[in-house]
Amino acid sequence: MSAAKHSQAMHFHARAGENVRNPVLQRALQKAKPLFVGKRAKGIAALADDGLEFEMLRTACEGIRNRTLADLDVWLDIFEERAITSGAEVLWARDGEEVGRLVVDIARRYGVTKATKSKSMLSEEAHLNEVLAKAGVRPVETDLGEYIVQLAGETPSHIIAPAVHKTIEEIEALFAKEHGRPVETRTSADIPDMTREAREVLRQHFLSAEMGISGANFLIAETGTAALVTNEGNGRMVTTLPKVHVVVTGIEKIVPTLEDFATLMRLLPRSATGQTISNYVSLLTGTKQPGDQDGPEKTVFILVDNGRANLLGSPYQDMLRCIRCGACMNHCPVYFSLGGHAYGWVYPGPMGSVLTPLYTGIENALDLPHASTGCNQCGSVCPVRIPLPKLMHQLREEQVERHLRPWSERLALKAWAWVAGQPVLYRWLTRRAVRYLNWLADDAGRIRIFGLAPGWTAGRDLPVASGRTFHELYKARK
């Protein structure tokens, strides 16, 4: 599988540890979390002002996505037909590599030397920047976060806030270097200035690029339209200024009607940033027509499978409802302890812990479905009610069925379960165990280093009781 070779998900454990110990990263994450959570909470609470109710809207959004997925092929056909009618070209890509080939082909056809890009996670799945650069096309990320990440030579660590792992000092250092000026001391009050500085640089790129590459938040079947939801306005530049506009997006992004899109928009920005609506919502249909002020001469949709079709009709189909709002990671205690890069592939957080194994191979991401406390903070905020913990659980079961768990873990579990099935033996063993624990404990009744579960005492004491089990004491009392 092509995605597997780029995935670093097998190193989750090591990366997680490193990131927990990285004070700069921790500072950045610590700052971001309350912002995300607070803003979403306000946005959801404000639904009441419009006489709307979260759970009802959720049901509606979940329903739209389920209906779409039930007849995905039909909606894709309709989309293709309508898009072609309005002057666009529609191409299909089986995987990331094919996306790269198609985009490079188009670039060659139109003599493209520079491509501006607005945020697209699919372009990450396809490693498009790398592929373009190799083909002699300079890719320029124009979303501010993506721009920062590109300057740093990194990948996004969050699906809507790609540079959330960076502190302002780090960003200042990157800007100073790229923009050829000395480093200054910056505070959050300077963010508008720094943004303006990046805009100045990007403006020249907008004007000189021959191709714009964007994702799409939704594809609207009835009109053959790509919907783009952004906050910076860069999306508009990318999709209207260059003569060629390429939309790269997943086949599951389709919704049947404009009305469905409007319903989903009630929850997408609120779940993502807490906004009632994002600063820009663009509906892009076809090419520049006579009399139009702007717009591309050529519009190409590249609709990508890359593992999605396999999920249709599988126990994981619910995952395809995802509208990429990021709420699950914003509310994830694990994500905010280590940042997105530890997850090793394009998608981080709870949705990544489900998608990465499904798209890159379960055997290539063994830790991810286990990297969860099962708290379900993600599942309870997801606007399309994806049962993320349940899907992670299914992946755990599949690992066991396919004999992918370490033998030591399997053996320990089997031995323990066998003992737990024999009450007399269990009582006998637990009586011995608590005496042993009590013997290990210090005067305060705590174990500081516990050889049998060193993970526990690495960061915590283990408080133990009197050296008697409940059942033993209860029996004695009777």
């Binding site: 454990h13 997680a16 540890g17 927990v20 205690p333 694990v334 302890s337 280590l338 286990h370 990297a371 969860s372 406390t373 099962g374 708290c375 379900n376 903070q377 599942g379 309870s380 992946l395 755990r396 079961e397 599949e398 690992q399 066991v400 768990r405 873990e409 579990l413 089997k414 323990w416 379960a417 737990a420 099935g421 009450p423 269990y426 637990t430 165990a433 608590v434 624990l437 305060a444 705590r446 579960a453 060193p454 993970g455 526990w456 005492t457 690495a458 960061g459 915590r460 004491d461 283990l462 408080p463 133990v464 009781a465 009197s466 008697r468 089990t469 409940f470 059942h471 004491l473 209860y474």
Partner: protein
Amino acid sequence: MRVALYVTCLVDLMRPSVGFASLRLLEAAGCEVIVPEAQTCCGQPAWSAGDRDLASDLARKAIAELEGYDYVVIPSGSCTDQICNVYPQLLSGDSLWGGRAQRLAERTYELTTFLADVLKVSTVPSEFDGSVTYHDSCKGLRTLGIKQQPRELLLRTPGAAIKEMADCEECCGFGGAFSVNFSEVSTRIVDRKCDSIAEAAADAVVGGDLGCLLNIEGRLRRRGDETTRVLHIAEVLAGGEES
């Protein structure tokens, strides 16, 4: 009313006083309490690890020993979730056990829910001198909807003053095997919980799941906090009588 008390494996091993406190609370509320003798573990560790077969074996065992009572009460949201939500789903394809799992689930309650919603107790047998801050454990809160019940009971406890901590609904980072397998991440998460607890500056942090409480207590002590008491809700409500 015959009530089976399922103490949980963690209470049996790590803090028997929670089992005795639960017993006293139920008896004070007028229940005839039986502690079924053969109880061991509900099987959640096997289920969490992804092993359906082992989890089903232990589910059948628990069903057989718990189904003969009017109610089953458990001082843990997480084990209650296992019996109420996981068992029926785990055994749904089993013509014999599916129905039995379902019937058991309907009669099984987490301790504070049973006291507040089923028995509707108006008094609790203890007094507590000091302030408490309540940590909402994830399973209880998000799958069983336990939120008001423990607080109602605390309000009825003479002397106990509730001081809510910030983000009381945030996960403490325990997660069973997660706390050992991803120890550093787990510690990072519980650190944030400890910060909230420190800010609340209550005399005791109280919760309904021993796993979370051991995690919180273990981290608080490691950080050098020797004074904040860490108590199970049953211990607060039933008073400090030693087992």
